[in-house]
């Protein structure tokens, strides 16, 4: 369903989730009764092609967190498969897994929480290389990546608490870039940041996609932020992807009710000044 909407049908997806259903078992309500289950993802397929920026929006509880966890390999799907570069990541050997780990990197919502407060920035940046046993000139790589995110080398000797939220998010992005990934998954990367800083980080992500040819999966609850960063957006609601389209189409001709709700929820300064924002 997704593929038909994509312009370039010939390029195979780089990272793909195919027909994933994820069910959580809840605790028993009665002593002997069956354990009730909760289906958080219902036959969901999702993909991103090389160099493409795709978005995923939905309200809280729509299943986008679980989708993120499965896409990044934090969780194994009960049904369905995750493919990286055409290979099922959960069915291969250790080398395939390592390659997947290395190639798919994550930027999380809270920059304060995503860096160890007791670890110097330099060490935090080296961690992915050491953990994934990647060879090469690590110092040169650290410097290169710092340049890419617009931070200076002085940062290396410092601790996270010496930085502002926006700077920490740059550092978190730098860490994600360290193993030279092919896919960057950004889970609400700006919602914890101040307005004036959000734009900086969004621009940075955009530049990285363009300059490094990265694929980007941008997950957020705010359709306008996603629309700014990506060229194809999936809308989630109640564990399903209910609509996929270009941001422009979603804004102007939303089909699914969830999309209409999200578009309708957007407040703008102009609408507010015109007095019809809450209408």
């Amino acid at each position: 369903m997704n593929a038909t909407l994509h312009d370039n049908k010939l390029t195979p997806p780089l990272l793909e989730m195919r027909q994933v259903t994820q069910t959580y078992m809840l605790s028993r309500k009665t002593l002997l009764g069956a354990r009730p289950s909760l289906t958080v993802l219902d036959n969901v397929s999702f993909d991103v092609r090389p160099g493409e920026a795709v978005g995923l929006v939905g309200e809280s509880g729509s299943g986008k967190t679980t989708l993120t966890r499965i896409l990044t390999g934090m969780e194994k799907p009960r049904e369905g498969h995750v493919f990286y570069n055409g290979a099922d990541v959960w069915a291969g050997d250790a080398e395939r897994w390592r390659n997947f780990r290395r190639s798919v990197q994550v930027v999380m919502q809270s920059p304060r929480s995503s860096l160890d407060p007791r670890m110097r920035i330099g060490l935090s940046l080296l961690e992915p290389l050491r953990a994934l046993k990647i060879e090469g000139d690590h110092v040169a790589r650290v410097h290169e990546v710092l340049d890419q995110v617009g931070m200076t080398r002085q940062a290396l000797e410092r601790y996270p608490h010496e930085f502002s939220g926006g700077q920490l998010q740059r550092i978190a992005i730098a860490r994600a870039l360290m193993p030279a990934p092919k896919v960057l998954i950004a889970d609400e990367p700006v919602s914890a940041l101040d307005v004036s800083i959000q734009a900086q980080v969004l621009n940075l992500l955009k530049d990285l996609v363009n300059e490094l040819g990265l694929s980007l999966v941008f997950i957020a609850h705010d359709l306008s932020v996603v629309a700014y960063t990506t060229s194809r957006v999936s809308v989630m609601s109640a564990g399903k992807i209910v609509e996929v389209g270009k941001p422009m189409d979603l804004f102007t001709r939303p089909q699914a009710e969830a999309t209409r709700n999200l578009v309708g929820a957007i407040l703008t300064v102009e609408a507010g000044l015109a007095g019809n924002a809450l209408g």
Binding site: M108, S114, D116, R118, M119, H161, E162
Partner: protein, 307 residues
């Protein structure tokens, strides 16, 4: 940076949130005069250092033998030259006894706190990082141990092993380990919920690495603070046990033992009980102040907020 909106309203006031217009009424304007930021740290450090020095010195030098009775010197008052704090009913110098007592107190308190810190850290980390079943087993085990009165454990240990410093240390370890386990477990869980742990796991870091390189450094502050507080509690408990006659006994001397002996003479010379009592109070106070001060300095959250 202040994060007010979240932290302030959650402080549940005593007069019931629902009774005020806004569902909170924290002790807002009541400006509690607190000691300057580092005063408790400094006072605590000084007191603790004094007692540690005394204990160390007692290994090499004592004004007189604290165990040999000198009948002609019995019950000298404080201020007597050569026996500045006086002597007890058998003519033994109080200062010498206090010095040896400091050694015992510190040995037993630190020993109990160290052993329980070690065991509690291992158990707490295991509970926090392993699966639900291990966690349940360890946590419920700790609950059961906590529900046994400490004094019973001490008496049973003393009855089976004979009383003495080692028995007291083991008894303290049995009291303190479950509480340590709980504290370490909850602190570790807090760290394990942070995103940098998720990130480390995504690079393929294993449990042991995560615990050693991420969790331990982040809970070290909690561990140090807890250690000083249990050190103090250990000294108090040791004094209590010795006072009851199930702790150390001569030729070892502890402050609790001195209290015990002084109590038998309370009709003859009441000041005898003051000196060991004062030593206990000052040492425990010093350690508690030190713990409080360290908490302010070491707590990463407080440090983060202050910066």
């Amino acid at each position: 940076m202040m994060t007010l909106s979240k932290s302030t309203p959650s402080a549940a006031p005593a007069d019931g949130p629902a009774t005020s217009g806004v569902p909170i009424s924290p002790p807002a304007r009541k400006r509690r005069r607190r000691l300057p930021r580092n005063a408790s740290l400094i006072i605590g450090l000084v007191l603790t250092a004094i007692f540690l020095t005394v204990a160390l010195v007692s290994l090499f030098y004592l004004p007189s033998n604290p165990n040999i009775p000198v009948i002609r010197n019995r019950l000298l008052p404080a201020g007597t030259p050569g026996h500045w704090l006086g002597t007890d009913v058998l003519g033994r110098d109080i200062i010498a006894q206090l010095m040896v007592g400091a050694r015992t107190s510190i040995l037993v308190g630190a020993g109990g706190a160290t052993l329980s810190l070690l065991l509690g850290t291992i158990a707490g980390l295991a509970a926090a990082a392993s699966g639900k079943i291990t966690d349940e087993a360890i946590s419920r085990g700790a609950d059961i141990m906590l529900s046994i009165p400490g004094m019973v454990t001490a008496l049973v240990l003393a009855a089976t092993m004979g009383s003495g410093a080692l028995t007291t240390i083991l008894a303290l370890t049995a009291f303190f380990t479950p509480s340590f386990t709980r504290v370490i477990r909850s602190a570790a869980m807090g760290v394990l919920n942070e995103d940098f742990i998720t990130a480390a796991k995504l690079y393929g870091r294993g449990k042991i690495f995560v615990l050693a390189r991420h969790v331990l450094p982040n809970i070290a502050g909690v561990m140090i603070v807890q250690f000083t507080l249990y050190f103090a509690a250990g000294i108090l408990t040791e004094a209590g046990l010795s006072y009851l006659g199930v702790g150390v006994h001569r030729p070892s001397i502890s402050w609790g033992l001195m209290l015990n002996e002084a109590q038998q003479q309370v009709g003859v010379s009441s000041p005898l009980a003051i000196w060991p009592g004062l030593a206990i109070v000052l040492m425990v106070l010093g350690l508690n102040l030190l713990g409080d001060g360290l908490r302010d300095v070491l707590d990463p959250k407080l440090a983060r907020r202050a910066s």
